[in-house]
Subunit: 253 residues, 4 copies
């Protein structure tokens, strides 16, 4: 153990690069619906943040009604992975801020999109498709199966985990086929859904994760939080090449 | 219309290249189990063959107990797409015949593997993995969802189709992630399955299709047969480049 | 042969569904640069169109300076596959028309994007990335290798074909990893490029094809035209499921 | 810094899980060809091992002529990632040992296959294809381009790196399309090659990396070694679900 610590001290490359995470929450439901406020008194972002902090990650939060939605250039510059939850106010997110986030993703920032974030401007822009799906809200049971058990986002999970009461999202989910499909959901009412989808876009990595809802206590479930932690690590930027686009000189001149 | 036919006459390239299909069936259950014989009196291969013939395809059949399992060099040379069903006698298929089929697939022959064929020698060899899965046989309901609606194998289908009584196959299905995932199954008992998986291997195309069973009349279902017809067309060889492997000369000499 | 024709007459499903193709060309270079006009006196679109017509395809053309850029609702409704070439005037394409094309692609229309079309609004919107790349224009040699020889877009090709004088496009090409990578280019000056990229987006299929340039006679090369014909067939819509998005009723009620 | 170390001490989950690596080398060329012995006096495995050890990884080596090729059950049980180099004696590797390695990969062990290892029994078995390619040995220049700059295997690299004198490997490379393509090689003589290919197979991760040769000092190049270190970290097992295959009980009984 002493040797391992020594190794860590002497070789910075071997340190865990714990990503700096910013959790963005629309944070409107919690302030306007008593039922949501009861489940998430400090907002969904704080439910997620507290677990990530317990894992040792540096976490900040940002919400829609802050100036610049809390996503200033300075904040984004210090964000390795951005987590996104939105639902009722996607259209209130300013295009300029969406553009800012978009550029950061292409430049390497990770992005984790949760549940109803499938319809956010940023996710639709990065996917290039409608991101539409089927939905139904009867509080049915969801079972989330791991289909790629060697993927780092599946670390620490069993073969499946369940959400006892979920809003159903069903196929066809109009997204590009993921680079890696990690989870597929089964719903009691007869639907399936590609629930854990990994994408490379630009130098950034994106993970769409289906579970999560404003009136169900899903963001307190250990397995759900485990996935979010895993995804934050997976999506963290790597020190890859600095890419230059545009004209290149004649190699012979 | 006359012009179109004329066009077809004058330009062979515009002809539909209807693939020549060989349906291989283990054909043991049908001869030894009365229940199976009642459902498929002429064998599962004939149930499939009759539909493919009705579509205008040139179809032959081959079975395990024929000499060389019916898969002579001559037969394979005239086969564009091979359909494979096996279950109780995978081990009785001779390695030399498996090798022959394998070489033909790499050389461009299409291969459609049905249901319990997931454990056939030829499928395991081409996948490079165990091809294991979960199973349960209680005659539960299966709903097969189209997740890639623009794929030719989904032609003519609705958003899903059902098998009223099915043997369940559940994830984790230990295959490589498909090049294209076309179908995902939902099962009444709580499982999901990647039910329609497309692969390129060598110059050949492979389609794994989950439905089908010896004691259920699944191979009479129009949607199931529709998929098999579509897959046969998709998997047909194209006149791609003749690939040469090995040493190539110095371009400067 | 008579029987085959008979078969075609009697079974419409077995007809070749030759796609109806619209070739969209920016058509500005040809009118303003003498050098371009000399190579393509009737515009690049006509060079491509004449070959597609010779293959029996129904072809129309459309250009930037026509009303609605020639892409009215009526035209798009009768277009199975849209081919796109643009370069100097990407910004002059109206967003409303881009949106119209976008919706048609998600609804199943095929799209083939040629060369400098990588920077078109429609391609960037569908890819969700910058679509940037490296470039150099010294008329160097390009060799386009087939890396997926079983794909229908490789039909009729050798292992590679060459463009004797090409504008170089080099990696990193900032697009999503293609669903299928068919071609990789080698350039004399030391670069490589993913030159033939297949994507499913919505119900539509997209093919990006690198070769082509306004001052080189690349759109007269038989292999280049062979690829465009193959791609038009591959990208043609299939009669897949009519997808419904949104709320679905409670299955139990 | 002290806090970071403290964090590491207190939270084992945040430790870097440096993989335990076994480097397997055929180790015949070095003993029989003076030219090879001059370049790699202690064998190629030691050239690689010394760098990995300098990174803090726990490394052991194994060679063909040891009992059980050095790959006993005990060794494999303590191996997180196996690196494989072979060339002249692929056939001398016993099938039983290949089967043992195969099972370990499906169970989660990472596998990095170098250069001529493309023709090893273990790689061909896991790929399910011929793994054939073109080759030429004139000591030409190779330039290896990063095409997925956000992938962890690209960490620390520039946009490309070069091997000044390389054996050429050219497409068509008869492998399944990789789950992620990280590198594409350019060769002076006119060929391209998919040089960095990532695969999930079973619970294991596989990376094929093209560079490397017995008579060129390629395994001393910092960029090449950087890639091998990165790949070892990427391919390390994760604590994913324990997958159970086979019969599952009726959920209703």
């Amino acid at each position: 153990m002493a040797d391992e610590i020594l190794g860590v001290e002497e070789n910075v490359d071997n340190m865990v690069h714990l990503p700096r995470v910013t959790i963005w929450n629309e944070y409107r439901h919690e302030k306007t619906h008593a039922e949501v406020a009861r489940v998430y008194p400090d907002g969904m972002h704080e439910a997620i943040a507290s677990r990530l902090r317990a894992e040792g990650l540096e976490v900040r939060t940002a919400t829609l009604d802050e100036p610049e939605h809390g996503l200033t250039d300075a904040v984004l510059a210090q964000t390795d992975v951005l987590i996104w939850w939105g639902h009722m106010a996607h259209d209130d997110v300013e295009d300029a801020i969406v553009g800012r986030v978009y550029e950061r993703v292409l430049d390497g920032m990770g992005l984790i999109v949760l549940h109803s974030g499938h319809y956010s401007k940023i996710f639709k822009r990065l996917m290039g498709t409608s991101c539409s799906l089927k939905w139904r809200e009867i509080g049915e049971r969801e079972r989330i199966w791991v289909v790629e058990p060697g993927h780092p986002i599946a670390e620490g999970l069993g073969e499946y985990f369940e959400v006892p009461r979920a809003e159903m999202y069903g196929e066809r989910f109009d997204v590009p086929a993921p680079d890696t499909l990690v989870f597929v959901s089964w719903f009691q009412g007869g639907e399936v859904f590609r629930s854990g989808c990994c994408y490379h876009r630009g130098k950034g990595k994106i993970f769409y994760f289906r579970p999560g809802h404003e009136t169900y206590p899903i963001f307190y479930q250990p397995d759900v939080l485990r996935v979010i932690v895993n995804a934050a690590r997976w999506a963290a930027p790597v020190g890859g090449p600095q890419v230059r686009f545009g004209h290149v000189p004649d190699p012979l001149s």
